[in-house]
Amino acid sequence: MPQWLTDGEYRTLSAACARLIPADDTPGAVEAGAAEYIDGLLGAFTVDPPRIWAGGPTSGRHGGAAGFGRFLELGRLEDLAWRMRIEGSDGRPEREFNGPVTGWQERYRRGLAALGSDFPEVDGAEQDERLRSAGDFTDLLYEHCCEAMYGAPEYGGNRHGMGWDAIGYAGDVQPRGWTDTEVSSP
């Protein structure tokens, strides 16, 4: 069940993510949870504290406590900034001090609609063509796919660290860090 998108939008989103970072012998964006990551970001303010900044100082993956899962509170202006970025200015004067701002929710709603409700069903070449003509929206979607693929799993992507495993990346290494020998040797 998506948190913010409709089921239909979620299906289109998943199909688009599968074209941007496809699976091969290792997982792609869909397997890593890119759609969950993006849906969670669009619905960040449906939970409190919002899922914007994971906590610290360690995740527990290399020792220490599992602190990333305790998301941090936003300050007053940070709350404003992230609501502007996600929800848009929505006609509210306190968000339009430099004019209207289109939020990610609206960009996704429109962008996914423009890909077409039949997007999951058409063939790959047609999907790529539609993604190319979607321009700015595809750029935004791809950035979020990259974050979902290689960012910390607490944000909803990179399931079980599969994005990091695929590229041989250790991820967050505190509190273990690296020994001097590991730093200086080939």
Binding site: W53, L77, F97, N98, D172, W178, V183
Partner: protein
């Protein structure tokens, strides 16, 4: 409420000044517009646990601020661009308790003797405003030494043949060299260059109650999860532990309140959005070289040189792709540097002469590599090749870079002023940067990049490229007018220091010409940019300025607002 001093900004300059003032018995209120993710003000021995090895939070979600939606800046290369060509993130240094010290990877070199007397040593350059500083390296040396002790700097005082004289050794030995740096330093040495372990404000051994760095690699752009970086953590902790300092985060300094030639307090917008005045006998401004002139302009302070002579470092970045993994995600981001391009040798003189310039100077060259996979992924195209590129990783695992922090000559036309239309979320006009490089920077970059490319040939790189920031039209890295905005976080020079009140904004101790109890303690006061990161020099200047302020009975004559 009233304090002996209100310090605006909690970065390295503000923290250094606060430590000196509380040591002298002053009460200090530090106001910081950003969040506090660093230290518990009630128990300053307790450092917060908000920092983490989290690329999404720090690098892609503006965790350290400023958020470009609520606190934008604007940029233009010149008046031909209209009011501005870019609105958003422009030369932003973190807006958070600890300021730029939090995100820096802590490379803290000193300037050299000649950096303080560029005009005397080399002469003027047409179109630029090359001047001597009103103080010498010898006068500043004791404060450099104190800054290194207070922050905690690891380095080898004998390793750099071009270094200025030192009164003593570094407080700590250097940390572990990164593997890639061992290769690039050897290549540099074979070519006759002089690489050395970069002076670094990260503990190599336990120091001052904080642990040794454990090489996690999340250094540049990240707050340190174990607080092994001492800048400006240690100074803030000591100031707060005195009981005479208080720290007000999410508190924006909107205006310095004045009466005649004296400040009487600072009007602030508090975390809850309400406005009030904090009375002060002296005001110490440490907002950085963009926010400091903005505050002075918002306060109605008028000086023809205010905001002018904005300098950044003109960065020349040579990158080379190797045929094997350099694992630059391990270690302190940069562990080796060399100063050869700072020295004006015969080859540099010849390059200058050919270009019709009297001289050119480059800057410190940092040896380092990239560490962040999300940033890497965004550089590759989408589609079936994405994953094979990420696995081969020519832009991360196998990439190495030499970054020259090129000296940027001051020009009166490069400046900070208030944007005519763009506002921050609190309703105040934002800073606008008008900046274009002088031909000196372009010629110096062109000359010194050859040595950077030669080092890659010597290392056996399979591909080499060079970009600059700001980008130059027609060259690699140019992506239209917005790439004319420099991305360096080294920003200097907008309240220039000098003895003549007509041509400088502050005196040799940072005191504003015209407001006797207002002192600037950040890189705004720099007369020249040198080819070195500004942090240690601005901390040394802040220690000196605050010592003078604390020793000056005159400073305490101002009446506080009741």
């Amino acid at each position: 409420m009233t304090a002996d001093a209100v310090v605006v900004g909690s970065g390295p300059g503000g923290a250094a000044a606060a430590e000196v003032l509380v040591r002298a018995g002053w009460t200090v209120t530090i106001v910081e517009k950003g969040r506090n993710h660093l230290v518990d003000p009630a128990q300053p021995e307790h450092l917060l646990e908000h920092f983490s090895n989290d690329e999404v939070k720090f690098f892609h979600r503006h965790f350290l601020g400023p958020d470009p939606l609520t606190e934008p800046r604007t940029f233009r290369a010149g008046p031909a661009d209209g009011d501005h060509s870019l609105v958003g993130e422009v030369n932003s240094i973190p807006s958070t308790v600890g300021g730029g010290g939090v995100h820096a990877d802590g490379k803290v070199p000193r300037f050299r003797e000649e950096d303080f007397s560029l005009r005397s040593a080399f002469g003027p350059v047409e179109g630029a405003s090359v001047e001597d500083w009103p103080l010498s390296y010898d006068e500043l040396e004791p404060y450099y030494a104190e800054a290194e002790r207070l922050i905690g700097v690891a380095g080898d005082g004998s390793a750099n043949p071009f270094a200025a004289w030192r009164s003593g050794p570094y407080p700590m030995p250097p940390g572990a060299p990164m593997y890639g740096a061992t290769l690039s330093a050897r290549a540099a040495s074979r070519l006759g260059l002089h690489p050395y372990a970069a002076p670094t404000a990260a503990n190599s051994i336990p120091y001052d109650g904080r642990p040794a760095c454990n090489n996690c690699g999340f250094c540049a752009f990240f707050g340190c999860p174990i607080h092994a970086k001492g800048d400006p953590v240690a100074m803030l902790q000591r100031a707060l532990a005195s009981g005479r300092a208080e720290l007000l985060a999410e508190t924006f300094a909107a205006r310095i309140v004045t009466r005649g030639r004296r400040a009487t307090g600072v009007e602030v917008v508090a975390a809850d959005g309400t406005t009030r005045v904090i009375g002060a006998r002296a005001v110490v401004v440490a907002g950085g070289a963009v926010e400091t002139p903005r505050l002075l302009m918002l306060s109605g302070f008028d000086h023809p040189e205010l905001g002018r002579n904005l300098m950044v470092h003109f960065q020349t970045i040579a990158f080379g792709v190797m045929d094997h993994d350099l694992h630059a995600e391990r270690g302190r981001a940069v562990t080796h540097v060399h100063d050869d391009a700072v020295v004006v040798d015969e080859a540099a003189r010849q390059a200058a002469r050919q270009a019709g310039l009297p001289w050119v100077r480059g800057g410190l060259v940092e040896h380092g590599g990239p560490a962040l996979p999300v940033a890497e992924a965004k550089r590759y195209p989408w589609g079936p090749k994405h994953k094979s590129l990420m696995e081969a990783s020519p832009m991360r695992k196998r990439l190495w870079a030499f970054t020259m922090q090129g000296e940027d000559l001051a020009q009166p036309t490069n400046r900070v002023d208030l944007d005519p239309s763009v506002r921050d979320a609190r309703g105040f006009p934002v800073a606008r940067l008008t900046y274009a490089p002088h031909r000196h920077e372009l010629v110096a970059s062109d000359h010194h990049r050859r040595a950077l490319v030669e080092m890659f040939a010597e290392m056996g790189a399979v591909g080499v490229g060079v970009v600059t920031t700001p980008a130059v039209p027609g060259e690699l890295g140019w992506e239209g007018p917005s790439s004319a905005a420099p991305s360096s976080h080294h920003v200097m020079g907008t309240t220039r220091m000098g003895t003549d009140p007509r041509t400088s904004v502050v005196d040799a101790f940072g005191r504003l010409h015209g407001l006797d109890n207002v002192v600037v303690v950040d890189s705004s006061v720099f007369v020249t940019s040198a080819g070195y990161g500004p942090t240690l020099t601005l901390v040394a200047l802040a220690l000196r300025a605050a010592s003078a302020l604390a020793g000056s009975s005159d400073a305490l004559q101002g009446g506080a607002v009741e």
